[in-house]
């Protein structure tokens, strides 16, 4: 098992990673591509998907997905093991959250890959 110290170190590092990748995400999606004038995304989805045409931006989005998934579900784990203490509970919480986090990462990765492929076709 990974030690608590390592988990918390990754927690801090992913936090910093989110700072960077999140800024890129918000910067590209909100401030440049589709919504300069209005925030309603009323135009075409390809304005947003156009972002994915760039492999580096798509990669940074994948990184953001991984960072947020770890940071968020490790945070939930911390809250839940502070709520109640028993080895069984901690074991169950850790495994359940790992599974959920993995599902979210797999599903999100699929979205990014498909969107990237579609964007290539559109271009």
């Amino acid at each position: 098992m990974v030690s608590e110290r390592t988990l918390m170190l990754i927690h801090y590092l992913t936090g910093l990673g989110i700072l960077v990748a999140g800024a890129v995400h918000i910067g590209t999606v909100f401030l440049t591509a589709p919504v300069k004038e209005n925030l309603e995304f009323a135009g075409s989805p390809f304005a947003v998907m156009g972002v994915y045409r760039n492999a580096i931006l798509a990669g940074s989005l994948e990184a953001l997905l991984l960072f947020v998934a770890f940071h968020a579900f490790n945070g939930l784990r911390v809250i839940l093991i502070e709520l109640y203490q028993s080895p069984r509970w901690e074991h169950a919480v850790t495994w359940a959250l790992t599974v959920v986090a993995l599902l979210v990462v797999i599903y999100g990765t699929r979205t990014i890959i498909i969107a990237y492929s579609i964007a290539q076709g559109v271009a």
Partner: protein, 243 residues
């Protein structure tokens, strides 16, 4: 005693031998200048209700016996003047996060056990030296300054009672124990750094501190346990500092 003004004390009562249902009881107490909450409780015990249980000893904030929750915050009853509360109504409850023995007396066993857990004494590698010390250890002023603040701790359990983590995580050592861990860790005379780190490096150890700073807020001696915990965490993340 002028007795011109009065204060209403609403006191938590709980007697496990007598049904064991917690309840509150009101007492009207005449006040005088400089009167502390402890003075008021002693007045109640002497004049109004001898069945009230309180624990106190030195009456000058150096023994740490009379910690209780006064108007919602953990404070020392002897160190809290009625005038400073700015209220005609004072709610007195036992310390939170601890089992109650009777009325305002909290059971500190759990608290002291966690204090013992961090080995609050100097450890020398040399067993002979540990058992029968012969050497004299010299420290510079600077080396003393590193830990002396945390050595002011009187073990009153106010920080333990204020900590939001302790309230649900009973395996968390608590601010007092972690601050004492750092106090001995950073002491130049101590030789058990790795051992001390191992004690609190678990899932319910030092990493569960979220720096809510309530411990430092309520400490009557200015020990600042939150600072000690953060400095300890730095040592554990980046390796031991020099010295």
């Amino acid at each position: 005693m002028s007795g011109t003004s009065e204060v209403l004390l609403r006191v938590y009562r709980y007697d496990p031998s007598n049904g064991g249902k917690p309840r509150y009881q009101n007492y009207r107490v005449p006040t005088f200048r400089g009167m502390t909450v402890l003075d008021a409780l002693i007045y109640i015990k002497e004049n109004l209700d001898p069945t009230l249980s309180i624990r106190y000893s030195c009456r000058m904030a150096s023994c740490g016996s009379c910690g209780m929750t006064i108007n919602g915050l953990p404070r020392l009853a002897c160190f809290t003047q009625i005038s400073e509360l700015r209220s005609k109504y004072i709610l007195v409850q036992p310390l939170r996060n601890l089992p109650i023995i009777k009325d305002l007396v909290a059971d500190l066993d759990e608290f002291f056990n966690k204090h013992k857990l961090v080995k609050p004494y100097l450890i020398r590698r040399d067993v002979e030296e540990q058992e029968n010390p012969r050497e004299q250890y010299r420290q510079s002023e600077e080396e003393l300054e590193r830990y002396v603040q945390f050595a002011y701790c009187i073990k009153c359990a106010l920080c333990y009672s204020a900590c939001p983590v302790v309230s649900t995580d009973k395996s968390f050592p608590g601010p007092q124990a972690l601050a004492q861990l750092y106090r001995y860790y950073i002491d130049t005379r101590d030789e058990a750094r790795e051992e001390r780190i191992r004690i609190v490096d678990g899932a319910h150890g030092i990493w569960r501190c979220h720096f809510a700073d309530s411990c430092s807020q309520v400490c009557p001696k200015g020990v600042d346990p939150a600072l000690a915990i953060q400095l300890m965490r730095r040592e554990m993340m980046f390796g031991p500092s020099k010295g």
